[in-house]
Symmetry: C2
Subunit: 329 residues, 2 copies
DNA sequence: TGCGATGATGTTTACGTAAACATCATGCAC
DNA sequence: GTGCATGATGTTTACGTAAACATCATCGCA
């Protein structure tokens, strides 16, 4: 910076003013400075900036994995929206969903250059360790059981699940089986609860729930059980990838979809339209989710009033070919 | 830090030594400092650290999208391995594969607090703009056409594609059609070239190539054309998601896989085993890829000798049920 | 016993920036 | 013409840390 100032024949403070777009610099001077910057290939040192300003213009995102489509799409949306707001995203992967893994991530996090953190993870896993945030850092939690401790940005999981199950009941199915996500997932829990609620409200029997882990493989295992149950005519899976596994199991066991069994997924990932058959599923608006996370966090960082409302991000049913009325039997 | 020093009754320099794990501090003193840190909730300020040390311990990853499975898995592997090395990952999403989008990303990048950058993108798109890196930042390019300008970490795309096509020929197929990735993708180009080479070397006809964009939807469109070509008995798609679309199209048109048509994908994403039928594909080792990217970049950052070899990350054929000998005809 | 070597700890300084304050020239009102 | 307001630019300082150097006590050995 000093070099630039010397070359432009001004003080370093004027260089600073130009580089930050402050007013009160005459055009001729500004141009001189800009020329000098260019000639010397000057880039402001972000560490020094951050030190002086007391903020990093960076948001940390802490999560277990990018392997589930929902997570990676959420992260992408967060990154895009944050970039628009002039913030960068730092990824904090947690090696494993164990205390050690989380602890390691948070130890790193404590020293990390972030103004705030978005947690895409079950909060109770955080409780296991002292949540040592960088001083002054804010937290927003995605789709989790944060209670009142942290602001939460939420998708309307329950409504989505209700739409899925209702859709199947309206088609005439007597009841619906559910392949849920992992027990520790709050989202999975809410989808399962809504499934139970709708059946109960409709006076239908609630068949045993099958437990998966979001992966297609786990869906396949659940699907084998479903295929072995001739009374089952409708399945609601907690995400699309598990639905893919269910479809495979049903196909292998000779049960046709949707003629014999209807299947509804959750997420509406781009691939779902290409499943065999194309999957009826609950569409999630990941972009909106990312936007809300970032907006909310920035509000907090700036100490502004509590962000506008706690409305849930809506979901909607997308009907494709994997659902139909039950067989006449 | 001064507060901690005061409370512990030592100098700030001793606090610094403890916080960085430097030797030469007696255990009793160290413990006092640690206690004081804990009591005051002290966290080192990473901006000041970075300023003093001249490095950020952060790697930037610049890419278009996390929506393709390959990208998100590569990023995850990079993040994990970087974390092991004490480095954080900053995501730099490029809004769109246009000059404006890339330019915007690089303008931000220029001011970003990173020691190096991993580019998961076609280099020729970077050429459109002045590649203004933070001073001293290093670059590693993934699977791209960087020529000699940047170090490249590469998967053995060509070998993978050769394995795929050879496998089909060995099963007895006369020739193989190819659904490629987007024209601007270097990886896609190499897979397509290898496909052409193998067919040519075997003295087989090279049928017209079909162009996709990595998405299942584009695979579906290509699949419809393939289904309309009764002479086609074998397809090699440049990734698994497009293979999913091809499977759907073939199924809709009543062409059985693998009895009528064999299909081979590329990537071996976890879902591929659950496709109908489970997909024969080329396995990529994304974890190894991520590791090599990070190692290579850190080598450069530290100014160490040119990293060990430029060996390609190997690929391997995973045979499942989507391939079989051609119909007797 | 004394002296140098060793190891523990303290003091000074600089990293690059931007806020706060100081200075200077210009122009306008009286 | 004088004085003062205004706007442009320069000077000083502090942000929190860690390297370099300085100091001090202790211990072993002649």
């Amino acid at each position: 910076m000093a070099d630039v100032a010397r070359l432009a024949g001004v003080s370093s403070q004027t260089v600073s003013r130009v580089s930050n777009g402050h007013p009160g610099v005459v055009d001729a001077t500004r141009q001189q400075v800009l020329d000098a910057m260019k000639e010397l290939g000057y880039r402001p040192n972000s560490a020094a900036r951050a030190l002086k300003r007391g903020e990093f213009r960076t948001i940390g995102v802490i999560l277990f994995t990018l392997a589930t489509t929902g997570n990676s799409r959420t992260v992408e949306a967060i990154a895009n929206h944050a970039a628009e707001q002039g913030y960068a995203i730092t990824l904090i992967p947690v090696a494993s969903p164990t205390q050690d893994g989380v602890l390691g991530a948070f130890t790193r996090l404590g020293e990390l250059a972030v103004d705030g953190v978005i947690v895409i993870m079950e909060v109770h896993l955080l409780d296991a360790v002292a949540l040592e945030l960088p001083p002054g850092a804010q937290v927003v939690v995605v789709d989790s059981d944060a209670g009142d401790r942290y602001p939460v940005v939420d998708t309307d999981q329950a409504d989505g699940a209700r739409q899925a199950v209702s859709h199947l009941l309206e088609l005439g199915h007597h009841t619906v089986r559910h392949v849920s996500g992992p027990a520790e997932s709050f989202s999975a829990g809410r989808r399962a609860q809504a499934w139970r609620d709708v059946l109960t409200e409709a006076g239908r029997p609630v068949p045993p729930m099958l437990q998966g882990d979001w992966s297609a493989e786990s869906g396949y295992r659940a699907g084998l059980e479903i295929a072995a149950d001739p009374s089952c005519t409708a399945v609601f899976t907690a995400n699309d990838q598990m639905a893919l596994g269910v479809l495979r199991a049903l196909h292998e066991r000779g049960r046709r979809v949707p003629e014999d069994v209807s299947v509804v997924g959750f997420d509406d990932i781009p691939d779902a339209v290409s499943y065999l058959p194309p999957l009826t599923t609950i569409h999630q608006d990941f972009a909106e989710m990312g936007r809300r996370c970032v907006d909310r966090l920035l509000h907090q960082i700036r100490g502004e009033a509590s962000p506008p409302g706690r409305a849930l991000v809506p979901t909607r049913l997308v009907t494709r070919e994997s659902t139909a009325p039950p067989p006449a039997s």
